[in-house]
Symmetry: D2
Subunit: 208 residues, 4 copies
């Protein structure tokens, strides 16, 4: 059992910028390289496409600031394929998720972690990679908010990582699912869910 504070710690702070120190922070993109080829994915795709534009902007700012970017991605049961092949498959025109995947196509500077299950930490190299990079804070983004993002957030919380989950860079199958995931991240996991426009990378000290 864990106690949950019912009162937001900083009332009235909903519009202030949130400064995230560069050192110790990583940006995690969860299942954004995705063919989104499942029945009923249209609603999700409609949300995911504008989200991808916002997330691409956030990623550019992270990269410019020196914050490492880590793709955590399903292998779609294709144990023999590598991430390159997954990218090719998901960005092909035949993939319903091609616009999302293209917008967020990884570069040679980005890290990637293959995940076999829902949580980015379950049976993956993520723990070791975060340790090597000395990460204490994660910015969690991606698809779907109430599934892989939430599972990953729970596991990050148990590892005592500070969580940022920009509410406009996470999408779920329904708006209700997304809200209830964000609520869970904020109340239980004590995460910051400020929208991406409010996030700035940079140490407080160095800002003038």
């Amino acid at each position: 059992m864990l106690r949950v504070a019912r009162v937001p710690k900083h009332p009235g702070s909903r519009h202030r910028p949130v400064v995230i120190p560069v050192a110790g922070t990583a940006l995690l993109l969860i299942d954004v390289i995705n063919d989104l080829a499942f029945e009923g994915s249209q609603t999700l795709i409609r949300e995911a496409e504008p989200m991808a534009a916002r997330l691409a902007a956030l990623k550019r700012r992270a990269t410019a600031a020196g914050v490492p970017v880590i793709y955590i991605n399903d292998n779609f049961g294709q144990w023999r394929s590598d991430f390159r092949r997954t990218v090719a498959h998901c960005t092909a025109l035949s993939s319903p998720g091609h616009r999302v995947s293209r917008r967020l196509r990884p570069t040679a500077r980005d890290y990637f972690v293959l995940k076999p299950k829902h949580s980015g930490f379950y049976d993956t190299t993520l723990d070791t990679l975060l340790g090597d990079l000395r990460i204490r804070r994660v910015v969690l983004t991606g698809i779907a908010g109430n599934i892989c993002v939430l599972f990953t957030a729970n596991d990050a919380y148990m590892r005592e990582l500070r969580i940022f989950a920009p509410s406009d860079c996470i999408v779920s199958n329904t708006a209700q699912d997304n809200e209830s995931a964000l609520r869970q991240i904020e109340l239980v996991l004590k995460g910051n869910i400020a929208a991406s426009g409010r996030l700035t990378f940079g140490s407080r000290r160095s800002r003038r």
Copy 2:
């Protein structure tokens, strides 16, 4: 990303008994041995006391049927104490949770697993114990629904265990939190959330 079925698999089945085979099933009691000594715990206690009565009845039926009962419990940061001492502390009259803890006091037949974090699987012996007992199905109960029960449920799901989460044997700090946890267990984790009164332990075969 995981696909989520939006339509309940068995519509109209909300009142039928649910038969859970004895072999391969375990009943898990999460954080029920609990002093509930935190600010604002009154609401939770008010819900937890009648829940404890229902859960005690479910436990009696499980034990009678030969289903192993596993207590998964916080050590309240007391790394040096054993479960016996935790039970003594939580059942003492000075503990706000004493009525809940007494009602569900473990017996010498029950198993117990100490958990240091929220999920019953995180850095615990639970995986090994379930393996030894050849468990493929877990009945998840306890406190709080949207925290330790949900974290444990997520981890059970990634391990491909079938989940039962009797809705009247799980309590959270608020009704909304409890409902949203049960919804998550049902829709995402494909769990069965039938109330405890509907659950019967016994193989279909042996029933006449």
Copy 3:
């Protein structure tokens, strides 16, 4: 503490063929895609080259029989690179390990698992992959016998996998290290260390 049988279970059986059932078996190649670019690697390379020929033959027989082949490989601290790039690096003429790596170059049918540390099970997808393939028996081969092979063997043993460690498909920095690793695998981990020439893939039943 674990009890260790001091007496070989099947005395006099040192030359008989060992039949390994196909179903439930995987062949694991540990760190064979390797640039072997470290000081003092000459001795190891001298042993590894003929070993690679024997292991390539064993791999051909495994593949022909339908036994899945899994490469478990270091990423040499190159978190951004994929396995394809590692293969290219290790098979280049400039790599002291190029002959070993070429001889054992993976094909599109082979599986691969990236490992960040010594054991193939530590923070990797191996557990999930073996579960998906329903593996209960592993044939462990590769480099170095007393380090990554032994660490992986220990972890396989704790997971109750049956271990085969063909003595002529494992090399270490010194002969003494190799022997003591094989002794440990045989006595403590109850592994079978028959040389690769004695191993046959195929169910006993179907053999005439």
Copy 4:
């Protein structure tokens, strides 16, 4: 693959005292609470009894210096029993290991971790406990050197903990097994295997 230095880093240092800083260090006692009730245990018991006297002295010095002491112990398959009951069983006169277990009987200040398998890290709370105590260095002692001590040492090494394995506080079934485990700890895991008499707890700074 891991490179192994063949040359001892500090030749001629075999007799100098080894000062281990107090902060960040824990003393681990592995399977010393043990009934040693297995066929052929006489040899091991003969070694374990004087070892227990030396280890008890080391434990006294650790406790005096403020170094936490952690018992990591088998539950002998008794999932329902707690550590108290295991201590009672192993210290009873009927237990062949009673002299060892009595000499090393835990006090109320000591921590304990139940382990279901050979490594102290496998499916246990040890990772979390060491994290809470901010441990970066472990002094590994106990039974048997080439099994549970070595498995635990391997796992400690992958977690980047510095290893001390006092050679006279570790016993195995045979002298050869013990030596080969210590050799592995020294060469592969870069552990310090100085005998317990040479170990002093205390920061270099504060020593005059």
